[in-house]
């Protein structure tokens, strides 16, 4: 082979030869949803946990409708928050252990875009089912129709924020063997503002005031989390990968 002979292999241009951002996000989403459907207990465990936590309050505190009506929104929010927390440790752990995360970090697309797709899949598999289950549990706690509707709306805006904030904690602790507890300690303080606004909105609605301001603030939190959390999680994942 001569020194000047051309070879049949060329350097590839990432823009023209690899799939676009949207396509690669859809691929990640599709894979993760497929995995959730095949791993049914991962899908069911947070839901069962949610139902049980909520059921503990009437049993442990008081089954009086007065108390439950007042505390119902808070109970459901705390239940949803803990159920989300329970599922977070799995968000990146399996991908980290089997090498999928390495391959994602090496894709030509920026990692935060793929992390956003993963977080969306996480919310679709855990947050959304929690929201769907809420009306039933709300009625169990004697909440009236209007409160249940507002509660579902706040959870619909709030649970994606929980998944997004949680993704940062999960990314930071993915390389640790016993990361679960540390993850809770890291993430719970960051969940507090979401919880306060979530329950506050339902209280305000029950008190008869206009809640559009509350909802707008929650939506602002969601927007902020959508923009910032994937960036932070991607940076944390790179650190976790670099140390492995």
């Amino acid at each position: 082979m001569g020194q000047q002979q051309s070879l049949s292999i060329t350097v590839l241009d990432p823009v023209t030869t690899s799939p676009g951002l949207f396509q690669s996000m859809v691929a990640v989403l599709q894979r993760d949803l497929r995995l959730s459907i095949r791993q049914k207990q991962d899908l069911l465990n947070p839901l069962l946990f949610f139902v049980m936590v909520v059921a503990l309050f009437p049993l442990g505190v008081s089954p009086e409708s007065e108390f439950l009506k007042e505390a119902g929104a808070g109970i459901l929010w705390v239940g949803a928050l803990l159920a989300t927390l329970l599922s977070l440790d799995h968000l990146f752990r399996f991908d980290y252990e089997d090498g999928t995360l390495e391959q994602m970090a090496l894709q030509p697309q920026p990692l935060f875009v793929l992390v956003l797709a993963k977080t969306l899949a996480h919310w679709l598999a855990t947050g959304l089912p929690l929201v769907i289950l809420t009306p039933m549990l709300g009625m169990m706690l004697f909440l009236d129709g209007n409160s249940v509707a507002i509660l579902c709306l706040t959870l619909l805006i709030g649970t994606p924020v929980l998944s997004l904030i949680g993704s940062v904690g999960a990314a930071l602790t993915v390389g640790l063997r016993a990361g679960g507890v540390l993850l809770s300690l890291l993430v719970i303080p960051l969940y507090i503002p979401v919880l306060i606004f979530g329950t506050g909105t339902v209280m305000a609605a029950a008190g008869g005031s206009d809640v559009s301001g509350h909802l707008a603030l929650m939506a602002a939190m969601l927007m902020l989390a959508v923009i910032l959390a994937p960036l932070a999680a991607a940076a944390a994942l790179k650190i976790s990968l670099s140390a492995s």
Partner: protein
């Protein structure tokens, strides 16, 4: 697409690489080039930093000093280019136990290459996984899982391949088939860097030797050996 590669082009060039792990220097002042049409074997005993070196070249590890160039330019200015042109297969190759071989391949290449499903199916046939292409990978043996991971190489278009322990768990015939595949790839102008404990029967192989740090301090040499 850019110009076809020449034999003299440096795809990757490492200069003065130094890496420390747990207070131990794995290698220092390590310089070498990865040029088209070559196969480079990273050699050394267990724990000498072979995997670490490949991860540094892939861009997964940040705990090192020195400089890595891509086509003559500092690598950090061209990350998207480097990621698209370097294929890294680690010893954990990203195979999901709950997905079938076909779904696994689809998910793995989805972000890198547009590959029609027919080509993926053919690649699985070729590595002997055809009859199992719709069985979850959790039910396959270790060697079969490795075959699924290596099926990517049949259609991968990246000019640089970094393969970490690619032969693990493969039977004799499969090892020979992978060796033939790598030889063909190198003949076409691809650059392959691999770690393996098995001595490949390949001609014109280059070697990067990483020394065990225990006995005589870190010994690192990049040898441009022909044979």
């Amino acid at each position: 697409m850019t110009e076809p590669l020449q034999h003299a082009d440096h795809l990757l060039r490492a200069e003065g690489l130094e890496c420390e792990r747990d207070g131990r220097t794995l290698f220092s002042d390590l310089s070498f080039s990865i040029v088209p049409g070559t196969l480079t074997r990273v050699e050394g005993p267990n724990g000498s930093g072979k995997t670490t070196l490949l991860r540094i070249l892939a861009g997964l590890n940040d705990n090192w000093s020195g400089q890595v160039y891509w086509c003559g330019q500092p690598r950090q200015k061209h990350w998207d280019l480097v990621r698209r042109n370097v294929l890294y297969l680690g010893h954990r190759p990203g195979i999901k136990m709950l997905l079938t071989p076909l779904e696994n391949l689809q998910a793995l290449v989805a972000g890198r290459q547009q590959v029609p499903g027919r080509v993926l199916g053919q690649a699985l046939e070729q590595v002997g996984i055809g009859p199992w292409s719709h069985v979850p990978c959790g039910q396959l043996s270790a060697g079969q899982k490795r075959r699924v991971a290596l099926a990517r190489l049949l259609f991968a278009d990246e000019p640089v391949w970094l393969l970490d322990e690619a032969f693990t768990a493969l039977d004799v015939d499969a090892v020979a088939a992978v060796e033939r595949l790598l030889e063909d790839r190198v003949r076409q102008g691809g650059a392959v860097v691999m770690t393996t404990h098995h001595e490949p029967a390949m001609q014109g192989m280059r070697r990067i030797r990483l020394g065990g740090a225990g006995e005589q301090g870190p010994v690192t040499r990049a040898v441009g050996e022909v044979d």
